[in-house]
């Protein structure tokens, strides 16, 4: 029985092994290539009374001598041991996988092109005219699906035809491109090589490889040519920089020409989003659209949160029956007061916070799920540029919407230290989930349906803050030359996976609730303890005395001493401010309980509203919103920047800027309210 040896050549994941197994079944054995550690798979099958030995060559991206696998592959093909080489390409991504074919052009071992994964290509709406491609190449082209082992008829026919009339790849097209793109260096190299090539390699193939500075190609040339010519070739090619860039360019152009008119693609569902995406990614309209959608998202998230927040606000009403029940079973009044005023209010606050986290996570999680968030990062590149930052600086900003600690950590993707520190400084402006939650809560409490206008005003000031901060820090940290270009692969739009979305939303809610409960309760108990006096009069407590002493100064910023302390504590963690408010504004109720007059159940909101004016509330919101995110964010900044000095500078800057903005907001508030 006559034997034909066929070698399977292709990039990793092109389906080589599937085809090998499909052809040979159990008639195969695995060993190593002689003297190498690379696995060699060999098998055989019979078809039409003829035996075919199949060699599964190592999967490589090209035929350059960059790795052991590539050298083995190339040497085997050139050795003449294979009668035919089956070059596999993934039909669903021809532009990428045909590179192997382009690199093969010039090797004169007969070849067949196998277009694998035709089923996937068809699902993508692709129509591939394999006959047209075969005509351009001068070799058989077989469209097939390797996993469909029952439909190998086309392949078998091509193999039989190949036995009778072996097909050699036509290299005219690529040679013309080498001449046109590389020009003189190619022509001179080609002129020095033997016209008939060396062994299985054509002179065009060898010239291209020499220009790529392929050491193994030089060895081939040395073995067949005189020393003087080799020396001239070495001198010639040495002067060509980026040879692989030039030859690669030619190969991609060649692939483009090969596919032109031979492959068509039907419009798919994803592409129907094209009109929307044109606007979403437009240089002119993309940014306004993103801002509009973010604002709509914020408004929506507040609307979603409102009913939950209202429900949570009724929780303190349980204080009276619970306290009566606890006192009834003999629990001490001081403990009942703590539980029913400070702790219950803290729980109510935590639940209200979580309702905002639900709204905001749902809206922004939805944008992420459908693939829109990536567009935001793309359209804001121009803005990043104006801030002197790289395009990818937007990534930490987006992450900061969830948590500033994550945002600071996310700056690791930026190589330049100056850019990284500036990005950290700017990412602090971005309000995290907890900030939004507290702002939504306090804003709604004081401004009702006008809270959205307050939030929008802060949103606009945040942009101004980012701009000014970038100028202040960027001046000494960023060099203009540090900005590098970026190419983004925007993900396709897709239907949201609601299960993932709600899993994310509830996970985040759980995290926030856990942290909020812990911090708010701890801080409220701490401040309750600080305001403790044996006689039950808060006026005699140390914290009150300090508060009253500093109030003339804090009122310059529109902050009463309680609000100032809440603001100061928000630098440790945003939720802490609610703990302070819960303790200080419920003090009367607590002290009433301590003095044995029964537990007062004044709701904190009522207490706040009767004590704090709207301009003061506005000042607090601004001070809070623009304060440093939390101690953990500061610690991360120290860790990531490796600079305590710069981290403290950033922290001091934020504390001062927050107070200044509060002062302005207070004055504006006095004019409005």
């Amino acid at each position: 029985m006559s034997n034909t040896t066929i070698a399977l050549l292709g990039q990793p994941n092109s389906g080589k092994s599937t085809l090998f197994n499909g052809l040979t079944g159990s008639r195969q054995h695995v060993g190593n290539w002689p003297g190498k550690t690379v696995e060699q798979k060999e098998g055989y099958f019979t078809y039409g009374g003829k035996k075919y030995t199949v060699i599964d060559l190592p999967g490589t991206y090209s035929l350059s001598a960059n790795s052991e696998e590539e050298i083995i592959t190339r040497e085997y093909i050139a050795s003449g041991k294979a009668d035919q080489v089956c070059i596999l390409a993934d039909a669903s991504q021809l532009e990428r996988t045909l590179f192997m074919l382009a690199d093969y052009v010039g090797i004169r071992t007969p070849a067949i092109l196998l277009l694998n994964m035709m089923d996937v290509a068809e699902e993508q709406g692709k129509t591939i005219d394999s006959r047209a491609i075969a005509k351009k190449l001068g070799i058989p082209v077989v469209p097939f699906t390797a996993v469909d082992t029952k439909n190998y008829a086309g392949l078998f026919k091509a193999l039989e035809d190949g036995r009778a009339a072996p097909g050699i790849l036509d290299e005219t097209g690529i040679s013309e491109l080498y001449e046109a793109v590389i020009g003189e260096p190619y022509r001179q190299t080609l002129a020095l090589l033997p016209g008939e090539g060396i062994g299985a390699y054509s002179s065009a193939w060898l010239a291209a490889k020499l220009l790529e500075h392929d050491a193994a190609a030089m060895v081939i040339v040395k073995s067949a040519m005189d020393a003087e010519t080799v020396s001239r070739l070495a001198d010639m090619t040495k002067g060509v920089r980026n040879g692989s860039l030039l030859t690669g360019d030619c190969k991609f152009r060649w692939i483009g020409r090969l596919l032109e008119g031979s492959v068509s693609e039907a419009r798919t569902g994803e592409r129907r989003m094209g009109r929307f995406d044109n606007v979403a990614t437009s240089r002119a309209w993309g940014k306004p659209m993103a801002i509009l959608l973010i604002l709509v998202g914020l408004a929506l998230s507040m609307l979603i949160a409102m009913p939950f927040m209202m429900a949570s606000s009724y929780l303190p009403m349980l204080s009276a029956p619970i306290s009566e029940a606890l006192i009834g079973i003999g629990i001490s009044a001081i403990l009942v007061s703590l539980l029913c005023d400070a702790v219950l209010t803290a729980v109510s606050f935590a639940l209200m916070m979580v309702s905002f986290v639900f709204g905001i996570s749902l809206v922004f999680g939805f944008m992420e799920e459908i693939g829109y968030m990536a567009r935001i990062s793309y359209v804001f590149d121009n803005t990043m540029s104006k801030l002197g930052l790289q395009g990818k600086a937007i990534m930490p900003f987006l992450v900061s919407l969830g948590c500033n600690i994550g945002g600071v950590t996310g700056t690791r993707v930026i190589e330049s230290w100056g850019q990284r520190v500036t990005t950290m400084a700017l990412s602090w402006v971005v309000p995290c989930a907890s900030t939004w939650a507290v702002v939504g809560l306090i804003g709604s409490l004081f401004f009702g349906d006008k809270a959205l206008i307050v939030v929008l005003s802060m949103f606009l000031v945040a942009f101004l803050h980012i701009y000014i901060t970038s100028k202040i820090f960027g001046r000494s940290l960023i060099q203009p030359s540090e900005r590098t270009g970026l190419i983004m692969e925007l993900p396709p739009y897709h239907k949201p996976r609601y299960r993932n979305l709600f899993k994310f939303v509830f996970n985040r809610m759980g995290d926030v609730l856990k942290r909020a409960l812990t911090i708010i309760i701890c801080v409220s108990i701490l401040f309750w303890a600080l305001s403790y006096t044996p006689d039950g009069h808060i006026e005699n407590s140390l914290i009150y005395k300090i508060g009253i002493a500093i109030e003339p100064v804090t009122m310059v910023f529109g902050l009463r001493w309680q609000m100032f302390m809440a603001w100061l504590s928000s630098a440790m963690g945003k939720e802490a401010s609610l703990g302070v408010l819960a303790a200080l504004f419920n003090a009367q109720g607590i002290w009433t309980g301590i003095s044995g007059q029964g537990v007062a159940t004044a709701a904190l909101s009522g207490s706040l509203l009767s004590t704090i004016s709207k301009p003061e509330a506005l000042a607090f919101l601004y001070a809070f919103f623009f304060n440093m995110p939390c101690l953990m964010a500061l610690s991360s900044t120290v860790q990531e920047s490796h600079s305590l000095k710069w981290s403290l500078r950033i922290a001091a800057y934020y504390l001062i800027a927050a107070l200044l903005l509060a002062m302005v907001a207070y004055r504006v508030g006095l004019l409005i309210f």
Partner: protein, 77 residues
């Protein structure tokens, strides 16, 4: 094609693969293939696809969403 692509990257701004395809009069799959090639040749590098505080560092309760950020390519050093 490849040299033009690198020249665009050197300009310092951000492009989408669609925009690059338009500028180079080719298709998005071709741009992806060329970026893969340039990456293998060491001319460009790929940025992390994901970021965020999914690392669950001690002390951090992990508020951050693991945003699936776009795949990004930039010039290698």
């Amino acid at each position: 094609m490849l040299t033009e692509l690198l020249a665009l990257l050197k300009k310092g701004r951000t492009y989408s693969t669609e925009e690059i395809a338009q500028l180079l009069h080719t298709g998005v799959p071709a741009v992806r293939a060329q970026l893969d090639y340039l990456e293998r040749q060491g001319y460009v590098k790929r940025s992390p696809e994901q970021t965020g505080c999914g690392q669950r560092c001690s002390g951090c309760k992990g508020y951050g969403q693991d945003y699936v950020l776009p795949v990004m390519w930039e010039l290698s050093e």
